[in-house]
Amino acid sequence: MAELPVGRGPVHITLHMGPKLAKPVPAEVAEALLSAQITATAGERSGFQLAFDLTKNGLISRTLLPEGFFDPKTRLIVTVTVRGTPEVLFDGLVVRQEVGASNQPGHSTLTVTGEDLSLLMDLEERTDRYPNLPPSQRVLAILRRYSDYGIRPDVYTEKVSQPPHQDLRVHYQTSTDLQYINELARANGYTFYLEPGPNPGQSSARWGPEVRLGIRQHALNVNMDANSTVDQLTFAYDGTAREEPQARWQDPGTRQSTLLPQPPISPLRPPLGKRPTPALKRRTLSGTAKHQREQAEAELLARAAVSADVVSGSGSLDVNRHGYILQPRQLVGVRGSGRTYDGDYFVKSVTHILRPGSFQQNFTLSREGLEARSAYVRP
């Protein structure tokens, strides 16, 4: 049966668009897609950029574009199927469109740029008070407003519990919902991001620690001849990135100010490297003296954990050769780069670049120390 054609390429891309409820796009739109670029980062907003071929008398320029099919706030869902397994890559809103009309036939393009659904939470400023609610419940109360976009809250209690005292302090929100959620996440050493999937039209809003435990994704192989899956991989080790924050706290009863003890960051960030990096810098956090003690402790822990990542790596891979889509915000093993830099890494960000016939991924990795903890990675 060798004469059978082998599929039409193992990567398929599916687009859903529409106001709030996205539907599959007409075939002409899918055929006009020239390239798609999607960026997903841990703790930041994801974005996309799609380029369409704008034929003079095509469906897009004749009806869809004037009728507002690509207008801002149109929802757009990108699904990619690799080897028969579908995966939702992106769920977001169109923000901006650009039309480049060209004299040469076939060179006119429509470029659509957008951001993920957390843009909705960043649209209006809100003044709200949250009496007697700990941070995680405040986040949950905010996220409940966005359930009609299929956003499912995935909220975890804070590591240092901060029981609220209504008679001492009432927490106020003065910024947009997204800014306030991010502020709360930073104060607790957590990250907030929207993870699209598992089905089109759904996404989960994670407010919690970064996923730095569990099964690693399939390893990235570099410098391994025919077995390499990564085109190129660069590592950088910044010794000054790690700092040891110091916080003082004043007891309102006795007016005594005490230096808070350094918390261990391993519950928030399990170590990935064998040789942890010593902190060269020492910084004093401002404003912690007047907080409640738990709040000051949480901020100290958060600052110590966030600055711990000193080793960063970046590279690019071809999905067809790697065989799997590298997912951001999860762990991955690296092999072939030498004893110092092999081992497990946290995938900080991934940029998917799709063109007809190619699916490239650019990624950045990070961890807090040199050398692998274990002699093996998951292949």
Partner: protein, 126 residues
């Protein structure tokens, strides 16, 4: 469904910690725990029920079986991976996957690329 999970669960329910990879038909199957009389716990994959068949033929396209074809060859041809034959078997209710390609001339429904077989109920944590 909107609940706050305790901090300890944050590093428990890890995406990808499932024993079956994304490409497996058991990926969305539930993991059960069986307790032996002496108290030890044995984990097992619960029986996987077929997803409901679509009433309309929108989600599949038809393939006419020829001589010598096998489900894995169809998987390679339509999905680029011979291990994905189970998606074709799911879309055509047969007891034995080999029945799919036994008779040349039989019409088999092949799921389209980008089709989510598990439907809206297959929500996993993470």
């Amino acid at each position: 469904m909107a609940e706050i999970e305790p901090y300890e669960n944050a590093l428990d329910a890890i995406p990808g910690a499932h024993p079956y990879p994304r490409t497996s038909r058991y990926h969305d199957a539930e993991i059960g725990v069986h307790r032996l009389p002496d108290g030890t716990e044995v984990r097992y994959t619960k029986r996987r029920l077929l997803p409901p068949l679509e009433e309309t033929g929108d989600a599949t396209h038809t393939h006419t079986v020829r001589t010598g074809e096998r489900p894995d060859l169809l998987g390679q041809r339509y999905f680029g991976d011979p291990g994905q034959w189970w998606q074709i078997a799911d879309a055509n209710p047969v007891l034995d996957p080999r029945e799919l390609t036994d008779e040349p001339g039989r019409e088999v429904g092949v799921p389209l690329a980008g089709h989510f077989p598990q439907g809206p109920q297959g929500v996993r944590r993470g």
